[in-house]
């Protein structure tokens, strides 16, 4: 067994237009053999820079890296598969580049095919694979030579729960052969399963040790508060709980609130509700440590009165692309003030449904009414009543926050006076005043997202569409984002959100689970859990069981 990989006092600075930034500042650690070391931290914490230094792609300004004699393999965040090459051709390329001879190649390929389950797809173009499959192929290409150390940069971002679980199982298999694995992630449930955890924050290592030791730090700081069932009430109570002195974080989980409080803070209480202490999770400790400046966001009057009842009504909605049916007879309704989620793996038809509801593409058949407009005849009118926040940050990087917002106001056709008022209002409500004149391309992801959200509601839409809003975002940012969404829903905003990320689904009032173009489940998160997860392991398990059942009943 090797000694793993040791690094000491690593420092890396970048000099750009905005001055010199220290990305990693004196970081030491060991990636031990036969273990999975989790590397966690918010966006821009320095995770990727650290991994790139360990992989030898960046030269540190200071510090030393001691590598084992064997191979150090690295899988970048956006692994460069050649999408216009087939699965096999990609593997052959990396085998050639690593100098694998024919005999070794045969064995390795057989092993990798079995390992990844890619054997049936060898002749498929890599670009035609699902997100999860791509990651598996990327991992296979990284593993054409057996490494002693394997560095994985956010391998599970953009991967649905089923593939995420498979990917994890694959890496665990590797770990059992004595390989040292570094797995960087923004998902703390993954970090919790690691043997060892390193927490990076603003370039420094805040914690380095076993996950349970990290979790134990917030022992006694986590509380659970049972809630009444009604949706509106539960968000109101969450806000009240968040405003209590000493409360760091509050999160709705089914029919309960999960609260994280400061050390030695008294038990949180609300009229008529009592809290019981529960064992902390890694995420609680993370939130407690990174201590977000916490104030429940104000409720902004952002929607015009649109009456009550169904704001979205979809009936037999179908969209075909040639012979392929992307969306297959979807029917559901969304009530005013509801947060409704479309949950499903990559390529399930979520985005197509979304695009139809936004009026970006027409339906092949079926009906869809949005904010009272029939999308078959009044797409433009419907579009004027909805706000849209894209998955990828879609604003002009070199313009300031204020300029971007004014631009958005102009696009939505607000008059100059209206634009002035609403931009000021939004800057105030979203806490953007300190960043008003900063070029938004240089801001942290959380701030960018806040700005994108502020832009999306400048024209006071009745419905807000969110496309995978917090994919790959760390819990601090994610909780903050959802606190705002909750506040908007309470003020009457209807929210439609797509996600393949289970944590995001937990925030929804109701969910439609979409798979292979069809709706295979509908209900509140609790209902779905109750129906499809007998073991009580949570929404993710319910989701996986739904998908697997469907596959069994409808083999491809």
């Amino acid at each position: 067994m090797s000694a793993g990989l040791t690094f000491e006092g690593l420092r890396k600075t970048f000099t750009g237009e905005a001055g010199t930034v220290t990305a990693v500042d004196g970081v030491s650690g060991v990636i031990a053999p036969g273990k999975i070391t989790g590397l966690v931290g918010p966006d821009a914490a320095g995770k990727t820079t650290l991994i790139r230094m360990l992989a030898g792609l960046l030269v540190p300004n200071a510090g030393t890296i001691t590598k084992p004699p064997g191979h150090v393999s690295y899988m970048p965040q956006k692994f460069g598969l050649y999408e216009d090459l087939t699965v096999e051709q990609n593997l052959v390329l990396y085998a050639d580049l690593h100098g694998l001879d024919q005999k070794a190649r045969k064995e390795t390929f057989a092993k990798l095919h079995g390992f990844t389950g890619l054997a049936p797809f060898t002749d498929r173009l890599a670009g035609k694979l699902s997100g999860g499959m791509k990651q598996k192929l990327g991992l296979a290409c990284t593993l054409v030579v057996t490494p002693e150390v394997l560095l994985l940069d956010e391998p599970s971002v953009g991967v649905d729960p089923v593939s995420r679980r498979e990917l994890w199982a694959m890496v665990q298999q590797l770990q059992n052969t004595g390989i040292a694995v570094l797995w960087s992630t923004a998902y703390l449930d993954e970090a919790e399963r690691c043997d060892h955890v390193m927490l990076l924050h603003e370039g420094t290592m805040l914690f380095d040790g076993a996950p349970k030791d990290f979790t134990a730090r917030s022992e006694g700081q986590t509380w659970r508060m049972a809630l009444p069932a009604k949706a509106a009430e539960k968000r109101e109570l969450q806000r009240a709980a968040a405003a209590l002195p000493g409360v760091i974080d509050s999160q709705i989980q089914g029919r309960a609130l999960r609260l994280v409080v400061e050390k030695d803070a008294p038990a949180p209480t609300l009229p008529g509700l009592t809290a019981e202490q529960i064992p902390p999770r890694l995420e609680d400790a993370y939130l407690a440590m990174l201590h977000p400046p916490h104030k429940p966001p104000p409720i902004v009057e952002h929607t015009e009165e649109v009456g009550s009842g169904e704001l979205i009504r979809v009936h037999d909605l179908t969209r075909k692309f040639g012979a392929f049916t992307a969306v297959d007879h979807l029917s559901f309704e969304v009530q005013r003030g509801e947060i409704f989620g479309l949950l499903g793996p990559n390529g399930a038809g979520k985005s197509t449904t979304f695009k139809m509801l936004c009026g970006l593409i027409p339906a092949s058949s079926g009906e869809a009414h949005v904010a009272g407009f029939d999308l078959r005849v009044a797409r433009a009118d419907a579009r004027g009543r909805l706000g849209y926040m894209a998955q990828k940050f879609a604003y002009v990087g070199y313009l300031s926050v204020e300029q971007n917002m004014r631009f958005a106001a102009g696009v939505y056709g607000l008059s100059k006076k209206e634009a002035n008022e609403r931009v000021e209002e939004a800057i105030d409500a979203f806490g953007l005043a300190p960043y008003r004149s900063s070029a938004c391309g240089l801001l942290p992801l959380g701030i960018k997202q806040r700005m994108a959200l502020a832009c999306a509601i400048l024209h006071r839409p009745a419905i807000l569409f969110l496309d995978e809003p917090t994919s790959g975002v760390d819990p601090v940012t994610r909780h903050e984002f959802w606190a705002r969404i909750n506040a908007m829903a309470d003020a009457g905003m209807t929210v439609l959100v797509t996600s393949h990320f289970i944590d995001e689904a937990e925030y929804c009032d109701r969910l439609a689970i979409i798979y292979r173009g069809k709706m295979i489940g509908l209900g509140s998160p609790e209902e779905i859990k109750a129906q499809h997860d007998k073991g009580g392991a949570g929404l993710e398990a319910a989701f996986i069981s739904l998908v697997e059942n469907y596959d069994r009943e409808h083999p491809q």
Binding site: L57, Y82, E83, L93
Partner: protein
């Protein structure tokens, strides 16, 4: 990862991948083979430096019989299409409206002037808005006049006051501008195509994130650059062959030099332009910037400063110095020489030397700028 190490298995693997990508997205084949054909047809037939069938107004104010004889001479040439104008006013009006490009006046005393020494029997007015055509047209009419006078003198067996010039134009006896344009055109087209072919290839690897994955493999710098150069070299030479065959068949050009010299010179030139594209791609790491850089840096200088249309010797001395950094300049000269004159080594060798030097410089810069890290 330094030094010119080349492992054949890695290089072969990389070349295979590059070919697969070319075949799967045939746009580079279209650029290399179809585009030269289209551009040759378009520019080859469209661009002509000869002034032919130029409309001219003839004003005949004299009754002298020689006037009709001269008119017949004008009609007999392919350069001028004469139309009789009733008077000067009408001819001037035609010129103003662009109906004719020249006016030839045979005045009342044409007959008398004709037999006097130092006289100017005819008046020629040419529309100078297009100075090149104007000069050509004025020259043609003067030539026709001189020839006519000479013929007349011979017929009358009298000595006339003109000097009979027996001129012969070498290398392009018919003074067909196609013969001088097409070789230059090939050079300019191949400059553009060569640079475009490679401008995208390195930047594409950066943009798609495949470069980071490649950097984690033992692939060396030399292998990477060879892997990017060789496939597009083959494509570029394919385009060169297509252009040459087109020039010989469709445009009926002669080929006075030897094929081997052409092959050698084209290879050198291809290395220069492919090298330029690679350099742009390596430095910008961005497909859009690299292609814009390749386009602007090759197209206009190639057209204007290569001697393809405008003779370098008649340029401002400063600009003449600048033309030395335009690779097309050397190739234009080599191609013109090979097509029209033959293997004239004193012309070909210095030009090839210049190309070899440029290729070395560009490829060295590219190699220097190619890093094995993300810094």
């Amino acid at each position: 990862m330094t030094g010119p190490t080349v492992n054949m298995q890695r290089l072969r693997g990389f070349l295979r991948k590059e070919w697969l990508q070319i075949i799967r997205d045939p746009s580079s084949i279209v650029v290399a083979v179809i585009l030269p054909m289209v551009m040759l047809v378009l520019f080859g037939f469209g661009v002509s430096l000869d002034a032919k069938n130029q409309p001219a107004a003839i004003v005949i104010e004299t009754a002298a019989p020689e006037a009709q004889d001269f008119l017949a001479s004008l009609r007999a040439t392919p350069y001028v299409t004469p139309t009789i104008a009733p008077d000067r006013q009408t001819a001037i009006a035609w010129m103003r409206t662009g109906k004719v490009r020249a006016i030839v006046v045979l005045p009342e005393d044409f007959g008398a002037q004709l037999h006097r020494a130092n006289a100017a029997p005819i008046q020629v007015l040419v529309n100078g808005t297009d100075s090149n055509t104007a000069r050509l047209l004025a020259g043609y009419i003067q030539g026709i006049w001189a020839t006519w006078l000479q013929g007349k003198a011979q017929a009358e067996r009298t000595q006339v006051q003109t000097i009979a010039v027996q001129s012969r134009i070498w290398f392009n006896e018919a003074v067909d501008s196609h013969r001088s344009i097409i070789p230059g055109l090939i050079a300019v087209i191949m400059t553009l195509i060569g640079a475009l072919l490679t401008a995208l290839v390195i930047a594409r690897e950066w943009e798609r994130g495949t470069m980071e994955a490649l950097l984690t493999t033992p692939l060396t710098k030399t292998e990477l650059l060879l892997g990017k150069l060789l496939p597009y070299f083959a494509l570029g030479m394919g385009g060169m062959v297509v252009s040459t065959v087109f020039a010989l068949t469709v445009f009926g050009l002669p080929f006075a030099g030897s094929v081997w010299v052409l092959l050698l010179a084209s290879s050198l030139f291809m290395l220069v332009v492919l090298g330029f594209g690679l350099m742009a791609s390596t430095i910008t790491r961005n497909q859009f910037s690299a292609s814009i850089l390749a386009l602007t840096a090759t197209m206009l200088p190639g057209m204007l400063l290569s001697g393809f249309i405008f003779d370098i010797r008649s340029m401002n001395p400063v600009v003449q110095v600048i033309t030395h950094i335009v690779p097309a300049r050397y190739f234009v000269e080599i191609l013109k020489t090979l097509f029209l004159a033959g293997d004239i080594w004193p012309v070909i060798l210095p030009n090839m030397g210049a190309l070899a030097l440029m290729a070395t410089i560009l490829l060295t810069i590219t190699a220097r700028k190619t890093t094995r890290s993300l810094e």
